[in-house]
């Protein structure tokens, strides 16, 4: 069995984000271990179990890696039905199954880092609110939201400690209800902008392309070549999409996770949960290096960049340099504390937990 099979829950390769990163990780592993990669995509969530059964039945694959949170039920069921097949689950746990590796991320961390930056930037430019445009109410999105809220409130406290000045930041989170509605994302962002939230995190897949667009359009209408307003990306380093108007992204290293999963499949160890957090560089706030990686990825894919790669890079970095240094100082401090385990981020896996978070960090 020399084949790795990736099974995408939706969209498939071509999002230059989550799915493409998974593919990238698989390809890297394949190269290193002399394997082959095949992949396919669900034609709708109704097919999950039958597709996975079909894949497992063929006995052709070293490991079948389900990519995407939506496989939450079908993947463990398939792993139970086919105990001799190894499975990996990007974005989900292994459910104590010996033949499955769970690949989890601490989305809260990425969300919190973005929250710190968004809130401090807002303070720097005199705003009283930050925003987030979310897709649907599912736990990974909740975790981002919870982290974001926490980060924003932490930032306010930190700013007070730093300067002695009071600041107040409201966190406006809106759920558009779909992951594939850029128009809904844009209208929601325009509402947030009008409500005074000029830093907006996108956690809604294609929907949050509308966030970036609203930010750029508002900026250009005011005659600016860079923000604020700023959008913030998720999963990938999405800055290249709107250079100058995306200040950063909450990263999630799906490639690393997939690579690790393949490595596990080659060994004999029983399944476990690989939780990737900032400590293992699995989550984080996009670094300059990340940004360059993704510009590179986009160039290779043939993406219609807004200028030459160098121009794009310069614009992104210039935007970062344009915000007051205390923003980055705050980020660095938060990151340090996080790595040191000195910060406990709120849980948000159930409706009750997220409701509590919303009450606590309004």
């Amino acid at each position: 069995q020399r084949k790795i099979c990736l099974y995408f829950d939706q969209t498939g390769p071509g999002d230059l984000s989550f799915n493409d990163m998974a593919l990238l990780g698989a390809q890297l592993a394949a190269q290193e271990f002399g394997l082959e990669v095949v992949h396919t995509t669900a034609s709708s969530p109704i097919e999950f179990l039958s597709d996975l059964s079909m894949l497992a039945e063929s006995k052709e694959y070293l490991i079948i890696i389900g990519v995407g949170f939506l496989l939450f039920d079908a993947l463990p069921e398939a792993a139970r039905l086919y105990p001799n097949q190894k499975f990996g689950f990007v974005d989900g746990p292994n459910f104590d199954l010996p033949n499955m590796i769970g690949l989890l991320f601490k989305e809260q961390e990425g969300g919190a880092l973005a929250g710190v930056v968004a809130a401090l930037t807002a303070i720097a430019y005199g705003d009283t609110a930050i925003g987030a445009v979310a897709g649907m109410e599912i736990p990974p999105v909740w975790r981002y939201e919870a982290g974001y809220r926490f980060g924003a409130h932490w930032a306010v406290d930190w700013y007070k400690k730093l300067t002695g000045k009071d600041a107040s930041i409201r966190v406006l989170v809106t759920y558009v209800g779909r992951f594939d509605d850029p128009a809904g994302g844009k209208v929601a962002s325009e509402a947030l902008l009008r409500a005074g939230a000029r830093n907006i995190l996108g956690i809604a897949g294609a929907t949050h392309l509308g966030v970036f667009d609203a930010a750029e359009e508002a900026g250009r209408a005011a005659g600016l070549l860079s923000g604020p307003p700023f959008g913030y990306g998720a999963d990938a380093a999405q800055e290249y999409i709107k250079p100058g108007f995306i200040l950063g992204s909450a990263r999630k290293r799906v490639d690393v996770a997939v690579y690790e999963a393949v490595k596990w499949a080659l060994g004999k160890a029983p399944g476990y949960n690989l939780v990737l957090g900032i400590d293992k560089e699995g989550t984080g706030f996009s670094t300059k290096e990340d940004i360059l990686t993704f510009i590179d990825l986009a160039v290779k894919a043939g993406y219609p960049l807004a200028g030459t790669p160098a121009e794009v890079r310069d614009k992104i970095f210039a935007a970062r340099d344009s915000v007051p240094p205390f923003v980055w100082q705050g980020l660095a401090e938060f990151e340090t504390l996080l790595r040191a385990g000195k910060i406990a981020l709120p849980q948000a896996d159930t409706a009750d937990q997220i409701a509590a978070v919303r009450r606590r960090y309004p």
């Binding site: 099979c5 034609s43 969530p45 109704i46 109410e137 409706a351």
Partner: protein, 342 residues
Amino acid sequence: MRVVLESLGALVLGLVIGALIMAVWGRDPWASYRALFEGAWGNTRALASSVSRSLPLVLTGLTFAIGVRAGLFNIGAQGQMIIGAIVGLSSALLALPAGFKLPVAMVLSALAGVLWALPVALLKLLRGVSEVISTIMLNWVAHWLALYLVVRKLSDPVRGERTFQVPVGMRFPLIQGELTWALVVSLLAALFLYWLLWYHAKGYEIRAAGLNPKAATTAGISVRRSILLAILLGGACAAWAGAIQVLGRFPYAITSDLAILGSLGFDGIAVALIGRNHPLGVLAGAFFFGTLATGAARMGLRGIPIDMIQIIQGVIVVSMAIPEAFRLLRVKKTSVPTKGKS
């Protein structure tokens, strides 16, 4: 019989055009199609999956088909299905003896579908509001209502991504692979509507009202009552589509993005049209769609991206529109003058 042959001809045409597209893009059409059909029918598990996949489509297809029979363009299956799924699931909360749970859930879900369809009928009959508008709008209302209920009221206390699961005793038992006895629900519904439409006075009236409302009225048939009946029966069918998705299919719960319901309601339109709005044709049309959906992943493994598969599906559906073209071809042949026979 002729109708069946025409549909098969259209299917073949669609497959051929699809093959051309794949060939142009440098993929082996033969191998891809083999993968598609192996993936869908290759073994009993696959076949069971294809059949199972088609069960809700039968029901939403029936909703549209009976509407057409009554002269309606009823595209409300999506919303009614969502409501049916929610109510079917919620009936798990009732304290009932185990054996009763499933039947009661099905009855309640059908009632809910009927209630959700009622405004469509009332708006049409009392205010002349076209069912096209009211169903599109109510579909969205149902969608948002469900998003609220699934996340806020019915969610699994320990897992936020979906509602609680239907207890084991309330599920449709498995037959084979993914296929459950929900099969009987879809089959019976199709047979029942077939019987109703062609072997019962009410169905006769529905068809009469749909084909010529004026003549039907003149003959003392209440067109309004027929429309009401068609809309409400449609509501019940669509609700059952939702119910069997929740009660008869893993994970026996509704995910918080409603993904397990997908666009089954809308797909029912195409299913019904391909089945020529005949309940038995709907069975065939649904199985065809079930096949395409189930076989797609296997085709994907052969390097055909999901979007390409969608294109091919689109081409096949478009070709399904034109059986008339075959009739045209045949006419050309027979219209050569023959010696007077009158």
